[in-house]
Assembly symmetry: C2
Homo-oligomer: 184 residues x 2
DNA sequence: GCGAGCATGTAAGTCGTTACATGATTCT
DNA sequence: AGAATCATGTAACGACTTACATGCTCGC
């Protein structure tokens, strides 16, 4: 029941087609809620049925016709109600950490290499988050932004994502080093 | 297909019943792979069918009879093979962050209160991780431990868990403050 | 000409959660 | 007396993933 509200929240900055929304969620929200296009198409139709979003057909030249979804008043209300509900604890699923857990009995070199690879993708995500943060701030200080911006939720979450990647990056390097030191 | 290896890795320190394993995973591995008892019982039976674990019936007085599972040689081999496989990117699912994302249009006070609550549970988890780390180190320095311990995988993951909770705790406080400053 | 991107979905299958069932024992 | 712990599961449901289908356009 949460994907529904992740989709709704991702539509807040403006209407979007399912295809566009899938890409938007990949940068704005993938950090804490990941969804594949298939799932998003289904959820958008469900939201439309329940009157929480409204669809408009947009005919394009030299591109397939698309359906653009906008949050309705009822949708905004449902999302506000949702913010009052208790949340279940956040969950992380990471196969790599299972491999780290078993690394002593497994292929140490392979796990260390996997950690290097993960470190690289953390570095890429980190750069993306830093660019998005700079985009929002547009030269303003953080304090100034938090006082004047129309919305601060997305900024708070970007900060969380950035800090997470930063720390993960550091840990990957450290853990790979520790495992390699062990290999001798 | 990953729960299977999370279960196998959790059995490495010693044989356990499904019931015990569910609790063990709640402290050792919940950090990066969470599973409910129902799922663990099912997976253990699957692992037994495939010869990756072996079950022994243990009759107890004044307690129900239980089945204790131990990793077999084939199980150890399967886990080692698993460490060589590529991992998909780690995924976080956190309802609270959806609420933070929508907080500007929702109930700010409720979201701030939810962040306080999350901060408290982070503090508790942090204390647990710190105690587990101290338990493993037993007075030794980290360097000494990494050089001499039989296994370092669990330690590396405890460090990751600790750092995560520490940072999450700090972020929750900061975000709650920012949202409350907004409410005025 | 070929792959990548635009745009939307269905169908099938796997994974994960919730509710329920059982029944003895130990703690408050 | 009632709740929590020990111990294992089944059944039903909901969430998520994978594979596939369609067809047009743009850049290389």
């Amino acid at each position: 029941m949460s994907l529904r509200y992740a989709v709704l929240a991702s539509l807040l900055p403006g209407a979007a087609s399912g295809y566009d929304l899938a890409k938007r969620m990949d940068v704005s929200v993938a950090n804490f809620w990941h969804a594949l296009p298939t799932q998003i198409y289904g959820e958008l139709n469900g939201l439309e049925r329940d009157g929480l979003v409204e669809a408009t057909e947009v005919t394009q030249e030299s591109r397939p016709t698309k359906r653009v979804f906008a949050v309705t008043e009822a949708g905004r209300g449902a999302l506000a109600d949702y913010t009052r509900l208790p949340s279940r604890p956040g969950a992380i699923k990471d196969e790599l950490l299972i491999k780290v857990q078993a690394s002593d009995m497994g292929d140490r070199a392979a796990v260390a290499a996997a950690l290097d690879g993960r470190g690289r993708s953390c570095g890429i995500k980190l750069a993306v988050y830093e660019a998005l943060i700079a985009d929002l701030l547009r030269g303003r200080s953080e304090d100034a932004y938090l006082q004047t911006a129309r919305r601060i939720g997305p900024y708070l979450n970007l900060r969380r994502g950035r800090d997470f990647e930063r720390e993960n990056l550091e840990w990957c390097g450290w853990a790979a080093g520790a495992i390699r030191a062990r290999a001798r």
